[in-house]
Symmetry: C2
Subunit: 463 residues, 2 copies
């Protein structure tokens, strides 16, 4: 939708900018919604973006600005004059402004704060006072508070006097004289009631609220549990300080999922989208983990060193080594992925460790037996069909491969499942235990399992 | 919060159920919100759940039922009498009812449909008529439609006559005589306007809408792009058929992230939470992929078979094999994770393939050089410190390891990044290309790279 419009329109806009035909430009642009305009703007140079923002009406300019990616916002701010920056910053929604200001270098943030009207500055500095990643940083003070002793008519009159609140005000919040949150009223109930009805009759008897200092993850969980689109936010003394809407939380939930996925893949979570991340930045997120994994994996060489004699005697054992190790790594990756996601969704809690252990004990054993069957079949079949000659002791070799597979897959499943739980127990993020990390751990122990099984089964024959 | 209440309360409730003290039970239960009650109910036996649901007032019973996990809903339905099932089914929100009915065996669904009033049955069968995973299945027909020639007073009168719409009606939808969606009006604007004002003055000039037959992923993307909490849904002829709220989409977004994560981990996505999935079900999701990976990995044995002679001559090469292969797998896992997530978030599109290729070419090469440096340092250091004697040609061996690492890591990054893009090009889900799958591919080719580099560098010395 938007992207298509952007692709079609961008050349025409560029031409009009060059011709300085601002009347026509304004006409065209005002025909689009802010999100569509934002998509069009992304394809333009920052200077052109600045020109277009300047000719838009105040409120539309601010709205488009809110929809721009962070990077474009920063570049556009630089391209705009002080007066226009002030115009836009004063107009954009407080929660989006916080999100922008918290990302900028603090000197820039300070400078931008001076451009705000005293009233907006108070709001901005207040929101910036909440800890990073807290609900306070995502909330907006655009809510309507009413007193419990009011009538419907008084509440409606109060509503008429409110400056335009852009966010949906489907709910009005009932507070006492001290501003403490008591309850809420649905706008709909207000609308269909008699004017002289006391508000107290419409109250929903719910004091559900978020704490401004709580982590944003709490908000995600609360929105999911209570299936609501907006929640009030209170401070330590239960005073209503703002509201959070679920669309802001959708971003938080998505960012968390991305972080978990990237950590699971064995790298630090990126701060920006893939294509917008500088290569140097990306290497900083990838190289350290890759190096840590590499250094850990060096223990495989140490372990293998002990078995160098065995390999010299029976090079055929080396041939099956990657197969055995990767099976342990894969089953570990499955288990760790399942448990990390289940813990993120609170399906698995610390106290469930024994249940997880039992499940993986059974699953790992059965999965190991499945692969062992395949592995044994392969050796016996290849020997029978003369694809390859594993020598007179090929059945013992098949047994070695099968036995090792059961051991390695079982071990991989257990390590993969228990490691995230162990990390949570140590109050660390379970997602730091990436799938590659589990694979590396399983590789080192897998070598020991494999050569020990081989030593016991093949001693006196090919060893 | 809720869980704590549940833990404290469950024993007391059980006792009251045994004593059949329904008056006291009803008193206690009515003091809680529906989501909290649902958490309390989960800890009870289905029969007890049924008893409690029976004593709750109609609307609260239905609301609590909506918040129960799918499994509990099914068990409770079985424990309830036909009359109570009808009572609850007729009362719960249409979108939640669809979600329940679509999961049940079709015979049960048919039977339940007969319990609905003709009006509710029409709604239910209509919603079930939309394809699985479509927006139609997640929408509710609880919206308020107004005509564009009405005045504010007429709209408010219409609102008063509506049966109780539980979902927030922060927006009213303007339709023409044929029911086609024209625009929307904010309830707030309606409330603060003069009664004789024509609605046409309040219209928002936005025809933003979802299509009922579109995939639910489209809805997630639209809510993210437009930062709204509710969107109207239209059919092929632009007729308004329902609304979707963002809280339903939050669940969809989460389920999609879970699916992607589980596929990335190398297994089929589970249909139910980990601890609630039967072991047999879980094995069905894990064993096939593990077996496919195992069979693919068998090519490593084939590839190694070609180099059996080399290994016999220089067993030291086998010692470093797991280190080299795992480095390729890890860099591939990083790249594939980054690209799959970026594609899911639409940060990377098909047309970006060349940019991705160039980025991974540079990153893969630099990452390979990093690991090569570590690998070479390790061999030289161990030799110098007499930890291990790699023989007179240890420098050539170090060079072999270093060269192979650059090749394998570069190759792993490229394969990991390009494979998801290739799958999307073939109109397959990029997430089917799991990290373990990339690792397997890189293992087979990694063996070939390693032994070829070794052959060229070490020929005439230890080979």
């Amino acid at each position: 939708m938007g992207t298509m419009i952007g692709n079609l329109l961008a050349p025409e806009l560029k031409e009009l900018i060059e011709r300085r035909d601002f009347t026509r430009l304004r006409e065209i642009l005002c025909g689009f919604s802010a999100p569509d305009l934002a998509e069009i703007f992304i394809d333009l140079k920052p200077d052109d973006e600045a020109v277009l923002l300047r000719i838009l009406p105040n409120d539309l300019a601010a709205e488009v600005f809110e929809y721009l990616p962070r990077e474009d916002q920063e570049q556009t701010l630089r391209a705009l004059g002080t007066e226009e920056v002030a115009r836009i910053l004063n107009e954009i929604a407080p929660d989006d402004r916080t999100a922008l200001l918290e990302e900028l270098p603090s000197a820039v943030t300070q400078k931008l704060l001076t451009l705000l009207t005293p009233e907006e500055r108070a709001i901005a500095t207040n929101l910036l006072g909440y800890p990073k990643e807290s609900i306070g940083r995502r909330m907006t003070p655009d809510y309507v508070a009413v007193q419990q002793h009011w009538t419907v008519a008084e509440a409606l009159e109060h509503l008429r006097q409110q400056p335009d609140k852009r966010d949906s005000i489907a709910q009005l919040y009932v507070v006492n004289e001290g501003g403490q949150l008591l309850d809420f009223i649905r706008l709909r109930d207000l609308v269909v009631s008699q004017p002289q009805m006391p508000l107290i009759n419409l109250m929903e008897h719910s004091n559900l609220a978020l704490r401004a200092t709580d982590d944003q993850e709490t908000a995600v969980a609360a929105f999911k549990k209570y299936d609501v689109t907006i929640l009030p936010v209170v401070d330590r003394r239960s005073v209503l300080v703002g509201v959070v809407t679920v669309d802001d939380v959708l971003d938080v939930a998505e960012r968390e999922a991305t972080e978990d996925i990237q950590k699971l893949g064995g790298l630090e979570a990126l701060d920006t989208p893939y294509l917008r991340t500088k290569i140097v930045e990306m290497l900083k997120k990838r190289a350290p983990w890759l190096s840590i994994l590499f250094v850990s994996e060096m223990f495989t060489s140490t372990a293998m060193g002990y078995f160098e004699g065995v390999i010299q005697k029976a090079a055929v054992l080396a041939i099956f080594l990657p197969l055995i190790l990767s099976s342990g790594g894969n089953s570990g990756s499955q288990a760790t992925t399942l448990i990390i996601r289940a813990m993120a969704l609170r399906d698995v809690l610390l106290r469930d460790w024994a249940r997880v252990f039992r499940r993986e004990l059974v699953s790992g054993f059965l999965l190991g037996c499945t692969l062992a069957t395949l592995g044994i079949a392969r050796i016996v079949l290849w020997q029978a069909l003369h694809f390859k000659n594993y020598g007179p002791h090929y059945l013992l070799l098949a047994l070695t491969i099968g036995g090792s597979l059961v051991g390695v897959v079982l071990w991989g499943s257990l390590v993969g499942a228990m490691l995230p739980i162990f990390l949570r127990l140590c109050r660390l993020d379970p997602a730091t235990c990436s799938a590659p990390f589990v694979a590396t751990m399983v590789d080192v122990t897998g070598i020991i399992i494999y050569f020990n099984v081989a030593f016991h089964i093949l001693r006196g024959t090919i060893l």
